[in-house]
Symmetry: C2
Subunit: 133 residues, 2 copies
DNA sequence: GTTCGCATACTCGGATAGTGGTTGTCCGAGTTGTGTTGG
DNA sequence: CCAACACAACTCGGACAACCACTATCCGAGTATGCGAAC
């Protein structure tokens, strides 16, 4: 089990947008070049972030992606949910009568991680960035 | 991203072995029937637990699987590691100069979950089981 | 009664295959900025 | 000088393909148990 590369690209893009300049519009080509991905693939990932309401896309010449006004509230968890979906990491598909105790344990452990990720805002990390990411 | 079904089967098997009777030997057929899996597939999963030193397998007539003496120390995390491997959930494969801050955030969040899973012993959960699981 | 051998029940592990999700690529369509042309 | 038009740059989104991990099955090999036959 691993987080997908798409999640990685999404997180890096968000942090980069926040670090460089939250108002600046950046073309997918520049972003793709920076992260060494194909532009069309990155575009597909960013579309998910657009649908989740985190960034805005501008078509046409000089178009690109830009953070939306409410960007400072966005957490790591938000981005991950947008890409991976918000399903639980663990599903007990066995049909026992009662609620599955194992399921409960796994979910509560997962919550620990999610709480940490909800606290971590993209904006906080963007401040720490110097050149890269 | 999801935990595999194999992990679910492994956890259920461990809890079941601990609940029924830690010394009792159970055939893979009974176990498979209980969890509604094919015996050969479950056997393949349990082999990983054997190699991790959690259970012992006995060949031949009246053979089966049994918990090893040290079973009470086994945590959820141990079982998950045995099945899924102990790699980090998140790998930043981008080559930036410095250490990736995003990677650090993800790893620390993951640790929160892992700590919880390390505290949860199979034996503790086995006590809560009545009939099923 | 004891021992040997065989059938039986069982796990082990490699080979194999289906399936679904991830990772990409390709391309046509739509959109915006810019420059050019014609009045 | 201004308006209309054409072109270039760019994103959008669907279709499609390669790849890999997960899931699962099959079967031959090895192993322990128990029963029966032979001495």
């Amino acid at each position: 089990m691993k987080y997908s590369k798409a999640t990685n690209y999404a997180l890096h893009t968000m942090v980069y947008l926040a670090a460089v300049s939250p108002d600046k519009r950046l073309g997918v080509q520049q972003l793709a070049e920076r992260f060494d991905v194909s532009p069309t693939y990155l575009s597909k990932i960013l579309t998910k972030l657009v649908k989740a309401g985190m960034i805005a896309s501008v078509s046409g010449a000089n178009g690109g992606y830009k953070l939306k006004p409410s960007w400072e509230k966005i957490s790591f968890m938000d981005v991950i949910d947008a890409i991976e979906g918000s399903d639980s990491l663990f599903d007990c598909n066995l049909n026992h009568q009662s609620d599955c105790v194992i399921q409960q344990v796994m979910e509560s452990a997962e919550e620990e991680m999610e709480n940490k990720l909800k606290k971590q805002k993209i904006a906080d990390i963007a401040k720490k960035i110097t050149v890269d990411h």
